[in-house]
Symmetry: C2
Subunit: 202 residues, 2 copies
DNA sequence: GTCTATAGGGGGATAGAC
DNA sequence: GTCTATCCCCCTATAGAC
């Protein structure tokens, strides 16, 4: 049982290191086998405990999924959007945003994988909750592009469409990025920032 | 039971309209609830039959998934790659390819959804089989970009990376495209073709 | 080609001891 | 905070009648 107060605290602010470890473990397994493909018994075995013990840390399986997804969608807003309100030209701020976004993916690959694939496994209420974050991020970027156009710095016929195109381009890299591959993540971050700028250069 | 000859025929060339109907139905349900989230009973009910009857049409559940994914990955190669060997400048051929790719997604949204999310639910052998198609498509596009650079038509430091960036941009639209939305699919196809060209214009 | 029946296993979740 | 034991349900797949 949880108290009313605990129920209203956002999941990721509750609990400590153990809870975060379990979420990270769940993210890895969900990524490898899919949310519905991983049972609580499998999860528990990987955490060296019994399935029943997991229910002391999480109300149910969905809460594990929600926390994994929040690592992506809530933290991204917090880390990234302040960049757009910071100093620099519109172009410089966009470059910093793209680089930061690429590195956030590289630093949280399992969670990004899960957030991309398993959002629909959430109940409708939870789904909507995540979508609010996701849309806020995209809309703010579209706004930044429109601002840059008004400032005469960008050339862009359709900021909404281009913001989606740029985000999809970046998010796709988690599918093929290989830490041992031809390019380091910092090289990719730089090149993707250039590609984004190229879409907007007058 | 199937004969040896049937077993060696590629899945999508076997069977008739009924089989294709069942694959389309499965694609829709897999998209809505995920591959592991849809049971054979659910599938059978939606098709107005009993679960056991499905095993007359498909050896197992995975065969349904494989066929859904092949609608995307095998057909795309067949429809699209000839464009790059056809007439026109490198730029014109790229524009035709992007438009065709966008329309293929719009015409097969369920299958594309499943192909993007559930590839890992395949057994390793089947997974590899699909990846061969996927890589062939991407490599051929990277080749086209490199050819265009040599012809002096494109400017591109890293054709491999840019081919991935363009494909990820396009494939992402299935996440947010709404047939009843602001832009028609043909408008999106045109604008995405322009964005792709913009990445390569000297 | 479709059915009924069922095998054999795993699913999420809970009760209550310690 | 972790355990054992268990509930009840759904899973994929097969056997064999029609």
């Amino acid at each position: 049982m949880t108290t009313a107060e605990e129920r209203e605290t956002p999941p990721a602010r509750r609990g400590g290191a153990r809870r975060a470890e379990l979420v990270a473990l769940a993210s890895r397994l969900f990524r490898e086998r899919g949310y519905h493909g991983v049972g609580m018994r499998t999860l528990a075995e990987a955490a060296d405990m019994q399935a029943a013990s997991l229910y002391h840390h999480f109300r149910n399986k969905e809460e594990l999924l929600l926390e994994a997804i929040f690592v992506v969608d809530r933290d991204l807003i917090a880390d990234q959007l302040p960049i757009l309100d910071g100093p620099g030209t519109h172009r410089e701020r966009l470059v910093r945003l793209v680089r930061g976004h690429v590195r956030h993916i590289a630093d949280n690959r399992d969670a990004w994988w899960v957030a991309a694939r398993e959002l629909r496994a959430l109940s409708p209420d939870r789904f909507d909750e995540v979508q609010v974050y996701r849309r806020r991020y995209q809309h703010r970027i579209a706004q930044h592009l429109a601002d840059g156009v008004r400032a005469g710095e960008f050339d862009c016929d359709d900021p909404r469409l281009v913001s989606l195109a740029i985000l999809d381009m970046i998010n796709g890299l988690n599918e093929w990025f290989d830490p041992a591959g031809r390019l380091t993540i910092d090289e990719i971050a730089d090149r993707y920032a250039s590609l984004a700028v190229r879409q907007l250069t007058p």
